[in-house]
Symmetry: C2
Subunit: 80 residues, 2 copies
């Protein structure tokens, strides 16, 4: 087993959005063009990821990775 942080903001974001869209990991993998394994590691909070791969997935949900002040980040995460 790994001890990644499934609760990190990116992992949570993708899991939540995918479920809201009623998609499986396989489908998300197909739609975004990233490998299935990547989707899984992403959702499980793997710490080291390539930014363009992450963006490839986030773009599907209309988002991208951007620098955000820590305070905003924590605020953002307060809303569950």
């Amino acid at each position: 087993m790994n001890n990644w942080d499934r609760e990190n903001s990116i992992a949570k974001f993708v899991r939540d959005r995918r479920k809201k869209a009623k998609l499986t990991q396989v489908e998300l993998s197909d739609f975004t063009g990233v490998g299935l394994r990547f989707v899984r590691e992403l959702e499980q909070g793997k710490p080291n990821l390539m930014t363009d791969k992450v963006n490839q997935v986030l773009l599907f949900f209309g988002n991208t990775l951007t620098p955000t002040p820590i305070s905003d980040e924590t605020r953002r995460n307060m809303g569950k």
Copy 2:
């Protein structure tokens, strides 16, 4: 020469903040613990980067990478 996008949000962010802090690339490299070459590629808009390395630099400026709606992103970039 490479044809990366120096104007991408992350590259611009780091360049601007570093200059505002009156630091050289070497100093930023030392302070953040990432390699000098990484700082350079980061500021020049290399598209494929490891998220944790990027965060290692962003953290120095009190920021982190987070998923952000495209609309917010463009809005954010309107403020130069």
